[in-house]
């Protein structure tokens, strides 16, 4: 085998795939070929680096150079300058948003400084399509330990001691869940990996499956062994084609190596994994709905109890964990429960992957220890608010989460703290909002999602959320009444308390938390008919300031509905009943004579 001096790690995640204007791997390989360097330098497609904002990303190892926004046409420069001459390509280095300094390695980037990558440990290092890479990184060692040394109960004990909690949203202790499934006797049990990631903007599970599919496979085999199940299923949404492709490759490789199938590692334990495709319904991320869907039924939750650990897939004891939860497990076995438990906060151990999005400078996928504060995430890792605007709120937990504000910035992020302040961990969505975001509109946005994604089985969620949405729409349309606010409160409470599954029980959270934290904004909307953020069009109107208007007629000419009247050199006027609030007049006025009230 040729001795490689250098690796060019090209991000193979969906985000970077989408932002590349061509085949980056091909361009780099061809360029190396042309310079007769293919023997010395290896191009490796790998998993997500997390810094999707600046994709496509190419990392050069071992000198650890982090190139951002790399396009195929940059391949020549990377090879000619960096590979041959050892000079870093300046223009492809990350530029610090404030200091404008170019930073050449990820170690010194704010985005990475506070991160600890456990679940994402192999993303960006291994080639997800190579089982050898995974094995080289201690892959399947944990499985060997479990099968050869620990046995089922000790494995579960380690899981319990580690304090690992479900990363899909509920935060239920994984070890306990396994114990229940193990304790329920049955000749047939199942292990299910929930890869039906549905929160808008969340993509941690996808990234793990795309970047390190073997970790999930290994963990599922361990899970199967621990609870005495011989069959695993991965329920993945069909709109994750790349993740599915890589998972399939990984499954075949594991089968070829005998890590799946009969008598795994000579232990006598049989296990195999099938893939089941979801059609992308949000509610199918709820474990009972997921099981229904896998059975070919309508994707609707069923009442718990019975929990899947008693009666799940095909009515048999079933353990359901999500992708990120599984990704932690091999490391916990390898490094020990106490190592894992030493990371994180009191009741939330380890790390959590978040999809950081919204009005921050550094958007992307991050993994931080539990207990990191919101401030650290938003202002250090996220690099603060975009365009120098003011921070207003951060929404965690996806559509079922809540909006947190200034006073929560120093809250250490963990399961219990987030619930205490009226939000939740969820699967790890984190959307940052600035002063231009209207909180009523924000809750309307989330409600729109839950109305769309409710399965319709129970009345409070089916009708209640629709009515919540309608009230919010009335308020943002300027037709809200004072009593609507009471209705919002009562409806939210009832939907939360009376709905069947987690979707309905959390869907009013955005409304409730914004009402708790931004009540005056709601009041303003209904009593003063004003939207301070300036985002509710119905609540604002354009006016001409008489003393500034010189009568240049520019605005009148630009108005698409001819609602501005006035003679040349006379003060103009906007006819409010005709105005469509497009803002053209304001944009075109050179005299600051147009204002929004």
């Amino acid at each position: 085998m040729a001795k490689h001096k250098m690796n060019l790690m090209v991000c193979g995640g969906t985000g970077c795939y989408a932002s590349a204007k061509g085949d980056l791997v091909k361009a780099l390989s061809e360029e190396l070929e042309a310079n007769d360097l293919s023997g010395e330098v290896q191009v490796i497609t790998t998993g997500c680096f997390g810094f999707c904002e600046k994709g496509p990303i190419v990392k050069v190892l071992p000198d650890n150079t982090f190139y951002v926004e790399v396009q195929p046409e940059d391949a020549e420069q990377i090879v000619k300058e960096h590979v041959i001459k050892g000079r870093k390509v300046e223009k492809l280095l990350y530029k610090h948003p404030h200091t404008k300094e170019r930073i050449s390695d990820s170690v010194h980037m704010d985005f990475y400084k506070k991160q600890i990558r456990i679940a994402l440990r192999n993303c960006g290092i291994v080639d997800p399509e190579s089982i050898d890479d995974y094995i080289a990184r201690e892959g399947y060692q944990a499985l060997g330990t479990v099968l050869g040394e620990l046995g089922p109960q000790k494995t579960i004990d380690i899981m319990k001691e580690s304090g690992l909690r479900g990363r899909g949203g509920g935060g239920f202790p994984a070890g306990l869940k396994w114990q229940f499934a193990k304790n329920n006797p049955s000749d047939e049990k199942y292990v299910v990996c929930n890869a039906d990631e549905g929160d808008p903007g969340a993509f941690m599970d996808r990234s793990i499956l795309e970047g390190d599919p073997h970790t999930v496979i290994e963990a599922m085999i361990i899970n199967g062994y621990a609870i005495h199940a011989n069959e695993g299923l991965v329920y993945i949404r069909a709109e994750y084609p790349l993740a599915i492709k890589r998972l399939k490759i990984a499954l075949n490789q594991a089968r070829e190596y005998g890590l799946l199938g009969k008598d795994i590692l000579g232990s006598g334990f049989d296990f195999d994994i099938q893939i089941r495709y979801g059609a992308g319904a949000f509610v199918c991320g709820e474990e009972t709905a997921l099981i229904q869907s896998m059975e070919g039924e309508r994707g609707e939750p069923t009442v718990k109890p019975p929990f899947p650990a008693e009666s799940g897939y095909r009515g048999k004891p079933t353990n359901v964990n999500n992708v990120e939860t599984y990704a932690n497990i091999p490391v916990i076995i390898n490094k020990g429960a106490s190592w894992f438990a030493s990371i994180g906060s009191k009741n939330s151990k380890g790390t959590k992957v978040f999809a950081l999005a919204g009005k921050v400078n550094n958007v992307g996928l991050i993994e931080v220890p539990m207990g990191t504060t919101l401030r650290e995430v938003i202002f250090e890792i996220g690099g603060g608010i975009k365009d120098g605007k003011k921070f207003k709120a951060v929404q965690t937990g996806g559509p079922s989460g809540g909006c947190l504000t200034h006073k929560h910035l120093d809250t250490p992020i963990d399961y219990d703290n987030l619930i205490k302040v009226g939000s939740m961990m969820g699967s790890g969505g984190m959307i940052v909002m600035d002063e231009d975001d209207c909180m009523v509109s924000v809750s309307k946005f989330y409600l729109d999602f839950t109305v769309e994604e409710s399965c319709g089985k129970c009345s409070p969620c089916r009708i209640g959320n629709k009515r919540l949405y309608e009230i919010l729409e009335r308020i943002t349309d300027g037709k809200g009444k004072k009593e609507d606010l009471d209705k919002l409160r009562n409806l939210s409470t009832v939907i939360k308390e009376a709905s069947l599954c987690g979707l309905g029980q959390t869907s009013p959270n955005p409304v409730m938390s914004t009402m708790d934290n931004f009540y005056e904004e709601y009041e303003q909307h209904v009593t003063d008919k004003k939207c301070a953020a300036g985002s509710c069009k119905s609540l604002m109107s354009y006016h001409i300031i008489a003393e500034n208007c010189v009568g240049c007629t520019a605005c009148a000419r630009k108005c698409p509905v001819n609602c501005i009247t006035g003679e040349k050199k006379q003060v103009h006027e906007i006819k409010q009943d005709l105005c469509i609030k497009c803002g053209n007049c304001m944009e075109v006025c050179k005299f600051n004579a147009v204002t929004i009230i």
Partner: protein, 133 residues
């Protein structure tokens, strides 16, 4: 493909595979390893830095030394090429000039292994190109 039959098989296999990933793993966390940067600009290559770099890589692997060998641009000491810069974990970098295979061997044996300095250190007269900005 042969099946992996036991944990021992797996461990053997892993040991064999480690090499292919080592380069990447070390690169991820360079400060934890001894770093040797070889100046590989035209001047360096002309005076044999490529051979020195290959030698350093091969030898450190053979001798089981925890070393990351990377290439750098011109360090500005064209009079003493090939030059290499050695950084032990947590220490300031030191630069050696006129490094041939023999010198390289000495550096590995003494500086890297034992932390003893070797003759041929170039006093730092100016900042490297990369630090200039």
């Amino acid at each position: 493909m042969t099946k992996i039959k036991s944990l021992e098989d797996l461990k053997k296999m892993q040991a064999g595979l480690r090499k292919q990933i080592e380069l990447r793993e070390k690169g991820e966390n360079p400060d934890a390893h001894t770093q040797i940067r070889v100046a590989m600009a035209t001047c360096g290559i002309a005076s044999g830095s490529k051979e020195v770099m290959d030698y350093l890589m091969e030898e450190s692997e053979k001798r089981n030394l925890d070393v990351v060998v990377t290439q750098a641009g011109c360090m500005g000491y064209c009079h003493s090429e090939p030059t290499i810069e050695v950084t032990l974990p947590g220490e300031e970098p030191l630069t050696y000039g006129n490094v041939d295979k023999k010198k390289a061997d000495e550096i590995l044996e003494k500086h890297v292994k034992l932390g003893q300095l070797v003759d041929g250190i170039i006093p730092v007269t100016h900042k490297t190109i990369e630090e200039k900005k």
